[in-house]
Structures are given as structure tokens and as C-alpha cells.
């Protein structure tokens, strides 16, 4: 199949346009956190606590972020991983660009409807267990661009969010506090949640 970017790109664009329209019409309510199945008979606490603690400690102290940065908050995340507010201390300076390796996606910036299918696809392609931090006012409610025709009012229309960090852009210390909140949430996670 001979691919010429110019001639065939119009129908590639049209195909992507339909994807955007479907997603826009289908995502009107916030996506809730997928509650893992918890069958009662597997609740043997003793076995759980030791394995849980070790697993969650491992997951908590090596969260690898996916480079899905969109706009201004990117530079606040970069200044977080730079020498002054060094996030490498928590083992988080590994920026994996493939979703298969990453287990945390920080949505740094405004999400537009044209970008929404891509973010949703990358989130679905991430390997379990995965978490999402909605960073900045644009991530929570669309922020200063909420009433624009092409901005998604908040990431929770597209992805289930674990931690919200307000601020436009939030200071690196606020981002660090958000990450601490996420690490506490990871600590209390029972592996049976799947």
C-alpha cells in the first residue's frame, strides 16, 4: 500500500476526527475510579499484610512517570526533577516514554479534545497497576480555558484520577505534596484489588 502523506492524509485526519467526535459525545460524566473486585473468601489478613507491605513499599518507592506532558505545568515538573527540588531522591527521575514501562501518568497541562483520544489510548496501554495525577487547574476543571470550544473541562472526563493538585501552575512543593499523597494511597493498596 503506497502511503503519500499529502494525498491520503486527509482521510487519516477524517478518521481521527470521527474518533474525537465519538469520545467527545461519550465522555460527559467524570470517570470513576475502577473499584477492584474484592471477593470475601480471600481475606486472609495475616498473609495479606506482610506481602502487601513489601509489594506496596516496592511500588511506592519506584514510581516511573510517563512523559505525557502537554503544556505549561511541564516546566514545573521539570523544575521538580532538577537539582533544586530533586525528585530523584524518591527514585522517580526515571522518565519512561513508553507506557508499557511507566506506572504513573502526570497530566501536566491543558487537555484539548483533539488530544483526548491519544491520552486515553496511552492510559489504556499502560501496564497495571497504574495511577494518574491531575496536575494544575486545567487538569482539574479546564481552569482558565474551561469555557473554550476545544478544551476538555478536566481530565476526569477521560481518565480515572487518583490525586488532584490545584494551582496554575502548581509550585514544585505542591507537586511534591501531591506525590506524597499518591505514595500514601499506594501504601494502602491491597494487591487483591487487581
Amino acid at each position: 500500500m503506497e502511503i503519500r502523506t499529502d494525498s491520503t492524509s486527509l482521510d487519516i485526519d477524517r478518521h481521527e476526527g470521527n474518533l474525537i467526535k465519538e469520545l467527545r459525545s461519550s465522555s460527559t460524566k467524570p470517570v470513576t475510579e475502577p473499584s477492584g473486585w474484592l471477593s470475601e473468601d480471600l481475606k486472609r489478613n495475616i498473609f495479606l499484610t506482610t506481602v502487601d507491605n513489601v509489594l506496596n513499599w516496592g511500588r511506592k518507592s519506584s514510581l516511573w512517570t510517563e512523559t505525557a506532558f502537554t503544556a505549561c505545568c511541564t516546566f514545573e515538573f521539570i523544575s521538580l526533577s532538577s537539582s533544586r527540588f530533586d525528585i530523584a531522591r524518591f527514585g522517580m527521575e526515571v522518565l519512561r516514554s513508553s507506557p508499557r514501562h511507566a506506572d504513573l501518568i502526570i497530566t501536566a497541562g491543558t487537555l484539548t479534545w483533539k488530544m483526548a483520544p491519544q491520552i486515553k489510548r496511552v492510559y489504556e496501554q499502560m501496564a497495571e497497576p497504574k495511577w494518574v495525577i491531575a496536575m494544575g487547574a486545567c487538569g482539574i476543571t479546564g481552569g482558565i480555558f474551561a469555557d473554550s470550544y476545544s478544551v476538555v473541562p478536566g481530565y476526569n472526563r477521560i481518565l480515572p484520577i487518583d490525586v488532584y493538585i490545584p494551582g496554575c501552575p502548581p509550585r514544585p512543593e505542591a507537586l511534591l505534596a501531591g506525590i506524597e499523597l499518591l505514595r500514601k494511597k499506594v501504601e494502602k493498596r491491597s494487591f487483591l484489588q487487581g
Binding site: 518507592s61 519506584s62 530523584a88 527514585g91
Partner: protein, 372 residues
Amino acid sequence: MPELITVGAAISPNLPWSDWQFGFWIHLLIFGIGIISLLLGSVIIFIWLERRLVGRFQRRLGPNRAGPLGLLQSVADVIKILTKEDIVPSRADKLIFWIAPIVAFTPVVLMLAVVPVADGALLADLNIGILFVIAISSITALGVFMAGWASYNKYSILSAMRTVAQLVSYEMPLILSMVGVVIIAGSLSLNDIVKTQTVPFIVLQPAGFFIFFIASLAEINRTPFDLLEADSELVAGYNIEYSGMKFATFYLTEYCEAIVLSTLAATIFLGGWQGPWLPPIVWLLLKIGIVFCFIVWIRSTLPRLRIDQVMGFAWKFLLPLAILNIFVTSIFVALWPETPAWLMGLTNLAILVAYILFWSKLFKPGGKAVAV
């Protein structure tokens, strides 16, 4: 050099279990498990060391929250990756997708089988030690290519193609750089090479070490030759579709290759386990650490080369230098055997410097000039 006669058992006489009836199996057990556990232990330490060192090069602290001084950081990484979901893409070639990490990991560990930890203390004292190392080291290229091709992803295909070009074309300089050492040592077995190194071969053979180090930097895909996993161009290279433990195996292979490179450089050029006061194994680990820190130093300062520059560098610069090195060393050893060590080292260094200056005139930086 007394002929090492292996009486019945396959191992050199001075090991305590050499004449015991099950000596062969005990030897295999101790050294087999020893090599794997030593390698994994040092990988855990070296991952932590690299992240701390790169942090220090970038004027920031490395990981220091997980455990004292962050030592448990790599353990945390292992636990997390162990319990990560395993994804096998639907259109991937399933069988090759599964086998690729194993084919990539095994040869790296095998190369340590012939490396002596102390006098005569190695798994198999092959008298063709170096040839075995070279033959085994080219299999990783196969494993990486299988991974890239099987995962049905455009970026990993490009990375697989680059494997074929880069790893294969750096075999030649790697092989020829060790011929100089073999000429002086007069034997292929790594144990004998270490024993004949009254003066470490890096002094006698600076050009040989220069070629060996650069060629193996390319073999283990480290900056400035990290084209396979060039994260700014090909998103994550050949291991883009691997997640969980299979990705960890590739991550492990990368660090095992770095450690094996440092071990080979230490045994062949820096005098292996020889050292005045400390026990032999501590000397070997010390030398491995020094070479590894040098690799990390290069990784955090130099930018990456382009694919055609990498190829041109291997075939046009390293190969003629390697042949020249063999030419000069063989003349010295054949015609004038009892030359003092410093003279041989000096001439070798002089040839290296002259060669680099000669080439720096010819190689003008500036790719093909395409004006728009």
C-alpha cells in the same frame, strides 16, 4: 609455564575439592551459582551506583529515600517490576517475543564463565578463553534483533535494524584489539593472561585498550553509541512493547553487559586479580568499579552519534588502527622479544597519538550539506 595437567577432575589442582570423587559437580555448583549471584548482586549495587553518580554529575542528589542512602532503591525497582502486568501485543510474533529476553540475557552471563576470580579459580579454564568470549558476545545482537522484530512496532523495528548494523560492525575492532594482548601473553586462556601480566597490558598496549574500550562501549549500547535505545529519537528502542519481568530482563542485560565489559577490561588490560595487599577478588571488584564509573562518566557528558557516523567510525577509524596495532606488536615480539616494557608501551602510545592526529585532519565535521 608448567603444563596444567588436569588429573581426572577437570579443575586445576590447587582447589581443595579437586581430587574428591564428586569434585566435578561441586565445582560446577559453587562456581555456577557463585557467578550468577555475584553478577545479580553487583547489578543491584551498580544500578544504584549509576543513578547516584549521574545525579552527582548533574549537581543533584541521587535516590536516597528508599533505605539507608537509597541502597534499597534497586530492590524496590525489582519488586515493582516483578509484580507489573505482562503485556504481549496481539499482532506480535508470540514465540520469538517470549524467547528474545532469554536469548539476550544468557550469553552475557556465560562470558563470565572464563573469567578468573583468583589464581585458577574460574568455572572452566578453557585454553581458548578469549575466542569463547568473542563467539558468545555476538549472540546478544541476535537476542536484541529478535526482540525488536517480534514486537510489531515501527520504532522497535528501526531499533532492530540499527542492531544489525551497529553491533555487527563493532565485532571486528573488538576482535582485532585483543590480538595484540594474545601476542604478548602467548596464550588464549584468561587465567594465563592474568598471570603473565606482571606489567598491566594497558601500559604495554594503550592502543589496544583504546579500541577495546570504545568497541565494547558500542557493543553494550552506551553513550555515545546508544542508538538502539535512543530515547530522544526512537521512543524506547527495542524494548518498547515489553513490560514487567521481560522488560526487567532487558534492563538487567544492559547492566550485566556493562559489568561484563568492565570485568573483561579489568582482566585483560588492568591485571585482573593481581594486586599487592588486598585479596584477589577485592582487587577484581575494585577494578570493575573503576571501569564502570568511567562508563557512567561518559554516559552523562557526551551526546549521541548518528548511525552513519557510528558506522564510519568503526570501519574507517577503528579497524585500520587495530590492524596497525597488531602489525607493530608482532614486530616487537617476533624480532626483539626482550624489549623493555616501557619502550613497547611508549611506541604503541606514539602510534595511537599519531594515528588520531592524522585522522583529525581528514574527518571534517559537517554531514552532507543540504541547503534548503
